[in-house]
Symmetry: none
Subunit: 213 residues, 4 copies
């Protein structure tokens, strides 16, 4: 379901509104065409006209339902499970293991050329349009961030982790370094780098029984 809710007949009951209904087929074709073109040409050479042509759709049909190219891309990349692994960290073992499992899954997504291409596309879109940036945050960053924080909160209650640490700041460090790496166009993301970072972060978060504090 589309996130850009312009549904013209949401208000109360009133008239069932006449005329042709929004074509679900068009919506799907547009988002699929967008993903194809992002993969083939990248976000920068993408054009609304190109998407419309590929989707066999009029340009107006796109403009009627989305406010900008960025939002189309955001929808195309972020809908359903399309984009990447959105699962929160598991709660199945010691916090260290759970966090590492989560971070590895994330890192593997960023190592996949297709997925990273899409991430790059939304990030480009976000960097030129605040509304798209908001979408990216709400539908990806924040989801990951919240999952991470929740798991750490649990660990804090279990005494595995210092309760006074700023879990949000830590989440931002992990997610931020991944996102920036993606936009930086720099070669090979190595999972070991993520591991090395976790080494430091998890040690820094560890509840220190010896000297209290």
């Amino acid at each position: 379901m589309s996130q850009s809710s312009n549904n013209p007949s949401t208000s109360g009951v009133s008239r069932p509104s006449p005329g042709r209904k929004r074509s679900e087929a068009s919506r799907i074709a547009i988002l699929a065409a967008t993903r194809e073109l992002v993969a083939e040409q990248g976000y920068e050479k993408l054009s609304i006209g190109g998407i419309a042509a590929r989707a066999g759709v009029g340009k107006d049909t796109i403009y009627r339902w989305w406010p900008s190219k960025g939002m189309v891309v955001a929808d195309a990349v972020l809908e359903e499970a399309q984009p990447f692994h959105l699962a929160p960290p598991p709660q199945s073992g010691p916090v260290d293991e759970d966090i590492r499992a989560w971070a590895h899954a994330l890192a593997r997504d960023f190592a996949d050329p297709v997925r990273v291409g899409r991430i790059r596309a939304v990030t480009s879109a976000a960097s030129e349009d605040p509304a798209t940036a908001e979408q990216l945050y709400e539908r990806f960053t924040q989801v990951q961030r919240t999952g991470f924080i929740d798991r750490l909160r649990l660990a804090a209650e279990a005494g595995e982790v210092r309760p006074d640490a700023d879990f949000g700041a830590v989440a931002d460090a992990i997610l931020g370094s991944l996102m920036y790496w993606a936009t930086a166009h720099r070669a090979d993301l190595r999972v070991e780098s993520v591991d090395s970072l976790l080494d430091v972060l998890l040690r820094g978060l560890r509840a220190d029984r010896t000297d209290g504090q």
Copy 2:
């Protein structure tokens, strides 16, 4: 000095190449106009024609020396001390204090509207052009990263810090979270967030005298 080195006669000594010399006045006017327009309109609405007009210069003079809009912006923002605080961490006290001083200076740059606007501009440029991304990395990220790593290396030698930690990964976490924050268009960067992150990171890096290692 301009980074876009197109010097046609670098080979050996030989002839000093004929023809009129590149106009330094134009180079300066172009970069200044770019900075002005970035501040006034942002990177997205920036146009080569607009820069040329503002600088009182022909478009060709821009295209002759820079390959893309992104590279002009990179040069304009990153030349000399223009952009932000590039000083490495000091070596004047305990590593914790030095790193915090450095990170605070950095955070203050990111909190300044003018500076963050410029950072945002280069980041946008970088996200649409790998060559610009390379510039941003070489002339900003890498400089900061190297300074940070060098300071930690010194601390490791002094036994202040675990020598087996991946300092690069830590640097990337700090810089990445700042950079991503900048592009994410999200409100207010709070210096306290950076401090909170440092709390965790520095604790994680701390040499642990009790259990040796």
Copy 3:
């Protein structure tokens, strides 16, 4: 009606083609602006961008319907009765009188600054583009030529004129000398010159009763 027939659905009957129709208002505004600018600045300083601006139209709208500046000018100058007197020689008296009447009308057109400016414009356009030259021929030269030849043919049947003369060559001489004069930028066309030429030509064409033939 526009001469630049790009009708995309001329084949058979089939579908009337979807989409917005060509704007007749734009077509008219473009041709009018072209005539104005030709009069104000002459063909050489004419620019597509200038025409578009004056007509309140996008450049693409010009390029969509005309292949070159020359063809716009040809259309602007040659449409309908705009350009000059296209009437064929009358058939109301002796051939000499009819031809002189026709030639005088023509010469008067070439003596009018506005009209000769337009002629000059199409001629310049024709001299740099074969397609425009073809237009000029089909829509002006050939019309005049055919009218002239037809009148002489009639005269030949009436025995006023030698039937074996090459009427086309004579028409070319009259029209060619006028056209060349127009492009040559030389001062004042005198109607007497045309008259003098007709003196010789009509005498040369005259049926010679004495020696038969």
Copy 4:
């Protein structure tokens, strides 16, 4: 020798002026390059920069000695015997024969692709620049015209031709039809057409002994 006389020391005697003298080699190279490029690309795609590059010469060297592209072309095409047959009509037989010989030579020049290409080039140049038009007239049209008129004047004195005819108008008809044909880009100039025209013109010029007139 160049027609564009910018000789800076023509005035009186004064100083013979020091400094380097104009390079004859450059002058020749420029005109040769111009002829080559006219043949290869036509007048419209010709550029001063292109001529300079082909001639191995700086652009300023062209601008120093010629005021416009048109004048360079005029010089290149019209210098010496380069362009076409400039001989006046012979005076070796009856006027009819002499005129036909002259016209045939002219027609043959216009039938030669290389020569007609050059004529077309100067004509294009002339149609966009009055000064060039003047050159074309002085150095080609007028020469032919004067030769023709002189021969007819002689014939008039010999009683071969009506002395009261306007020889200039007749010359213009012959030359004009040839020139217009050249610019009209129309296929095949047939020598027979010229002959047909001469049939009429010479008959029209013929002194009529029988009925005086």
